[in-house]
């Protein structure tokens, strides 16, 4: 959820625009008293703005609709990022909607004004070069910034990559605006931060789930990047004797078995809860109390299993450190330029 601070309704107060994994853009309107409760941005028909996938709060489930894309069988594309951008330079903010799964970017036009917007409810694909804007490794969020200093807004965007495993991670990409005022044209992606190949023994960078923003952080006249994301690393372990290697194998097997047992127990508890609470209203106090009661009957076994897993993991960790994953925020400071160097920026 990457926030954009923008005076969306042109009342002189900064608002906060963002989108979440519920699949729609939200706005918190600012006033002199502060920010209001966030709410969905609606289109001219009063419907939620989205790409196709969304969380239905009423039905308590993920659903798809093709209404914004004009298709009967919609692809699964969840809007998880949104930006206000006056695409056609008519004086009001249109919306850019960023999709998670394929990293597609759409625009939805505002046929009203900032004070009284009328979003069309129809999405138009944004292109990058000759192809639809897309990030196969899933897009976190785009940001608008005049990266090359030519007076128009370019797009920078991060990718998720493999956020749990050891596959290639995320990167940050630039899409230059080569169009004119009111007719933006975005070029194909250039790499600003390469996709992480991971494999380090220490946290050295954000490796996956890269959320980016740009500003002149240090006031030296160029744009720096600030990037949030998960660092993923595997500390180096000690050199193991033959006996230690055998012990490590035993521990790994034991840990696997305990984790399997824990998972099976968890599934059994969930099945029991589902059976006992059948017919109860989802999210109700009655259901929560009954679920807690059932969990309590299994708590001793759950606790003992967790304790055993922790003990085995701790010993195993001392022999073979496990991969680590933790989120941080990183600064990518722009290098200082020596006179006479190539002027490409």
């Amino acid at each position: 959820m990457s926030p954009q601070f923008v005076d969306f309704n042109a009342d002189g107060h900064v608002d906060i625009l963002t989108a979440t994994f519920d699949g729609s853009p939200h706005i918190s309107f600012g006033s002199k008293e502060g920010f209001g409760k966030p709410e969905h941005i609606l289109d001219s028909k009063g419907e939620r703005i989205l790409i196709s996938s969304f969380w239905n709060y009423k039905d308590h489930q993920h659903q798809e609709t093709g209404r914004a894309l004009g298709v009967e069988t919609p692809p699964k594309e969840r809007c998880i990022s949104a930006l206000a951008f006056d695409w056609d330079a008519d004086g009001d903010y249109d919306l850019l909607l960023g999709g998670y799964e394929k990293g597609h970017l759409y625009r939805q036009m505002n046929e009203g004004t900032n004070a009284e917007p009328r979003f069309t409810g129809k999405n138009i694909a944004v292109m990058a070069g000759d192809a639809p804007f897309g990030i196969e490794a899933k897009m976190t969020s785009p940001r608008l910034v005049d990266w090359d200093g030519d007076g128009d807004m370019d797009i920078i965007a991060g990718s998720f990559g493999d956020v749990w495993g050891q596959g290639p991670g995320g990167g940050v990409f630039l899409y230059r605006n080569t169009g004119t005022r009111g007719k933006p044209v975005f070029a194909a992606a250039e790499t600003l931060i390469p996709v992480s190949l991971k494999g380090k023994a220490l946290p050295t960078r954000p490796d996956a789930g890269l959320y980016v923003d740009a500003a002149d952080y240090d006031g030296d006249g160029d744009l720096d990047l600030v990037v949030g994301g998960y660092s993923m690393w595997t500390p180096e372990g000690p050199e193991l004797s033959s006996a230690q290697q055998d012990r490590a194998k035993q521990l790994a097997a034991k840990k696997g078995a305990l984790q399997k047992e824990s998972l099976e127990l968890s599934r059994a508890i969930n099945r029991e809860i589902l059976a006992v609470t059948k017919g109860m209203e989802r999210g109700s106090k009655e259901l929560r109390l009954k679920a807690a009661e059932i969990r309590a009957t299994h708590s001793k076994k759950t606790r003992n299993l967790s304790k055993s897993i922790r003990a085995v993991s701790q010993e195993l960790e001392s022999l073979v450190p496990a991969p680590k994953r933790k989120s941080f925020v990183w600064l990518y400071e722009r290098k200082q330029v020596r006179p006479g160097n190539d002027s490409r920026n």
């Binding site: 994994f21 920010f35 709060y57 969020s141 910034v145 952080y217 941080f328 400071e333």
Partner: protein, 111 residues
């Protein structure tokens, strides 16, 4: 500045003000950036342990220096005020919730 007038950076962006391109020049084939470093806020790392931290630069307290706002997967926002600038080193104070007019931390709905 929040709440109130548009912050400098937003105004500059909306007005289409650009950063000097000559200052952005870089040799081709090399990284544009210094080795990345983790930002700190107070005595901890900024955004540490948050689910998918999404930082953005923003002047929150109207001082008017760039503070950092960090969003996350569950829909919460925190911000860390810029406490000190010493040359190229910027120190951020401890993160705190970005509050709404109700006095509670802002929370954007997720599923």
């Amino acid at each position: 500045m929040i709440p109130g007038a548009l912050p400098t950076l937003v105004l500059l962006c909306l007005a289409g003000v650009s950063f000097p391109s000559a200052a952005l020049a870089m040799p081709q084939g090399s990284s544009l950036f210094e080795a990345p470093r983790r930002l700190r806020a107070g005595d901890t790392y900024l955004g540490a342990g948050r689910m998918y931290p999404s930082p953005v630069f923003q002047d929150v307290n109207g001082d008017p220096q760039l503070d950092i706002v960090v969003g996350d997967l569950v829909g919460r926002l925190t911000w860390a005020p810029q406490a000190l600038q010493d040359g190229r080193l910027i120190i951020f104070a401890k993160e705190r919730a970005l509050k709404g007019r109700s006095g509670e931390g802002l929370k954007f709905h997720n599923w």
